[in-house]
Subunit: 498 residues, 2 copies
């Protein structure tokens, strides 16, 4: 006999997913093209969408259906069982938070994100601080409600939204190991770099239209399908939209094409993951991306592992040169490789090299833990940020624009998100090493601009798996072991010391 309660849940969560897709398109629109005067109305539209989605998730029948469906779980296959588990997880967290708090949080995030857009260029933390307090207070309130419902700690309850099953105690251990390895390694890498000729940046200005065309060329080569996606401009680059309509954004700098180009390649990695999610499970929880560490592993696998590698630069150097009619030694392969693997402690996370990047993440993770635990007040954030930068990277931002205002995350309500970036970097190293070992065609393919072997492996081992397994199990199946920081360390040694 079919499990009708399960079928009913699938139908309900399909509706929820469709409304989520709509909200996602609205979010993209807000960030990419909405005229500024519409911010207030948009905040209300998004809050209403959140209320409707929350209402559907927490309808009294859902709890009953979950009970019935679980009682007859033997009638379900693996995917269905995993889907049921995800539905229950989402339901548990949603029912923990009252609708008025969902709406208040959505409004607070919209208001704060809007204010951040001007506070950041103005380096005016004070202008956005009260709105950030409201976001933090509502986030903490929602997090505590989820913590009570799940038995998790406050930070874990928030982290779990981005990294299902993620636990900060484990992450702290991994980050501690990294924090022991990195400072000495950074010294070594800088010394090795100083022994080589310094890279010469190609001279601009680089026409924005030409930069866009170059980005599109690489996107297409990697397999991005413009029938199912777009490339646009936004203040903070991101990958949004839906699996059938993946929209990535970038920002252009006429003086430096590399920053935008690498950003585009990074977001393309996210986009290929979304687009490669299992079509059969579209609009079911089990068909969604597994979590942000795996998501970030896909963007960093493309940007850091592939597109800053020698084989890639060998293929890409003449393409870049032709895009800007470049001439001279700055456009030679060896110089471009050195440029794309240059290590330099700096202020901006999204522009950071992969050696210094973890320091940015460790700083943010420490700070958000302290803020959520009320061990620190938002008044102290700018100074604590600058102290942390001094301690971790030996530099102090000239203003909050390059300091605690640089990232949209906290201002937009993403608390418990930052650690996934560095988990993603390590996951990327581990997946790419396993992929290359499994298929000897992958690296020669990259050197020839053919990314199909790599994409086939990623689709089979990551993209097409959705949420069938936990991140730990996915990584163990794909690479033979759970996350091991040593693989990342080996990658760094290979690239920066040899």
């Amino acid at each position: 006999m079919p499990n009708t309660a399960y079928a009913d849940l699938e139908a309900r969560f399909r509706r929820i997913a469709l409304l989520g897709e709509t909200a996602s398109v609205l979010h993209w629109d807000t960030a990419a093209i909405m005229p500024s005067g519409a911010a207030g109305a948009r905040a209300e539209q998004l809050a209403e969408m959140m209320a409707v989605i929350h209402g559907l998730k927490t309808a009294p029948e859902v709890g009953e259906l979950l009970g019935e469906a679980s009682a007859d779980a033997g009638a379900l296959d693996d995917w269905q069982r995993a889907n049921l588990g995800e539905i229950e997880r989402q339901w548990t967290k949603a029912t923990a938070v009252p609708e008025d708090l969902v709406v208040a949080l959505s409004r607070a995030c919209s208001a704060c994100e809007t204010a951040w857009r001007t506070a950041r260029p103005d380096a005016d933390y004070g202008a956005v601080r009260p709105l950030l307090q409201e976001v933090l207070d509502r986030t903490r309130e929602a997090g505590q409600a989820k913590a009570e419902a799940t038995g998790l700690g406050l930070y874990d309850a928030l982290l779990d939204d981005y990294e299902p099953g993620g636990r900060i105690a484990e992450i702290d251990k991994i980050f501690d190991q990294l924090a022991r390895f990195l400072p000495a390694f950074l010294e070594e890498a800088l010394a090795a770099q100083a022994a080589r000729p310094a890279p010469v940046p190609p001279e601009g200005p680089f026409d924005v239209a030409a930069q866009k065309a170059l980005g599109e060329t690489f996107m297409s080569a990697l397999g991005f399908d413009f029938n199912h996606g777009r490339l646009d401009v936004s203040l903070h680059p991101f990958c949004g939209g839906t699996p059938d309509d993946v929209r990535i954004t970038t920002r252009y700098d006429e003086a430096d094409f590399t920053s935008s180009l690498m950003g585009v390649l990074h977001e393309t990695g996210h986009a290929l993951y979304e687009r490669g999610l299992p079509e059969r499970w579209r609009r079911q929880p089990v068909g969604e991306a597994l979590g942000m560490s795996v998501h970030e592993s896909q963007s960093l696998l493309i940007e850091m592992q592939v597109c800053r590698s020698r084989p890639f630069i060998g293929w890409a150097a003449p393409v870049m040169r032709d895009a800007f009619a470049g001439e001279g030694p700055a456009w030679e392969e060896e110089n471009l490789y050195r440029l794309h693997t240059r290590v330099r402690p700096d202020f901006i996370r999204v522009d950071a090299d992969e050696v210094t990047y973890p320091a940015h993440v460790i700083l943010r993770t420490r700070l958000e833990k302290a803020l959520l635990a009320e061990d620190m007040s938002l008044d102290d954030l700018p100074a604590a940020w600058n102290d942390g930068m001094k301690e971790l990277l030996g530099i102090v931002p000239p203003s909050d624009r390059e300091g605690c205002l640089q990232d949209v995350h906290w201002y937009d309500g993403a608390w418990g998100y930052f650690p996934t970036y560095t988990l993603g970097a390590m996951t990327a190293a581990q997946l790419f090493a396993a992929a290359k070992a499994a298929d000897p065609e992958i690296e020669p393919g990259i050197a020839a601009g053919d990314f199909q072997p790599l994409m086939a492996w990623l689709r089979a081992h990551v993209h097409g798996k959705g949420r069938l397994n936990s991140a730990r199990d996915l990584l163990t199946e794909a690479t033979g072991q759970p996350l091991d920081p040593k693989v990342f360390e080996t990658h760094l040694r290979d690239r920066y010391l040899h």
Copy 2:
């Protein structure tokens, strides 16, 4: 004692309006920028939004609240009473249509509109006909349900969605009067035109960026606020978005800047109406645009009454010339005026002059009445279209691309909409005549590129009124009489014979 049932209805319809705004942004996105491969997913998203909105409108409590609120209507002011009436009207029609039909209709429209996008350039009516049949069948089904609930005929029940209170019997009378006037007048106008030198079209190509900049210049002059709106490109020009984020579209022809420019000015008229709706009643039914005849009156008042007038062309001619660095007699004011008021029977409605435009509308109204009444089958539509063009304008489209495939309306589910275009043209003439009579500053303002006096009058007498009164009452209050085709006839005589 406050009318709490009424307050509850306001809160519910505010939610409905917010979801409607979201659906409106999705519709804009679909038409303007969505990648084509996302059409299927978008259709499902829109259908789900329609289902949610329908569910909120038809919730059992709404009927009860309407009863309570109406019983205590004495406690309400004029705007609140009008709002309550509109809520009841929307509720009556929504409850008549079951949710599965709402969803089926939304899906049918999305599928048909998508197919139309390629059928039109391919002139392949056969490719889209089965999908159009589905739209027509579901539209008729929904219309019959609304007809039963309201006591209206089928056509009126559909018309009422676009033109609240509109009745086809009255429209037929007005159109009959026009149909008696126009053929002879067209002969006269063409004869008068033949007696004057033929206008010389400025020679292109006209750079698309320059066309866009010129459109934006005129939009800004008219009062379009780019903090609350956008100008983009779509296959079929339209005005979408929301009152706080009004998005108009156009399409560019490098050989002819006039077509796009006049389209932009037309949509700007729509946009200024939306933007000028009463802020106090935002997201309540009474705060919406009154209906499509008044909406179209605002676009045609700007495009036809103002922007093709001598005072406007006098101001605009040098602006146009400078935009394209034009030289020679084609750019002289007198030539541009003759060009913008040229009468010429042609195939495409949106490019038609105001003398031949009503024939396009009369044809479509006749055909959709026959199709809805099942007096004609969709198989016979292309031939009936061509016969009608021959009868009304003496010309036969070379293919269905210039014939029954040219407009998106039927393919997108807008049945009972077409008559409002010509009602709008007549309303525009009547409003503009009254405005000029009321404020002698309006015409000199236009001649100097100052549209504030005109806009102030429109805001006071049209935009700011929302749905407080019926279209008939609004027109009577603003102009001293209900719609009178003679005012339109007088306008045509003044412009084309003298």
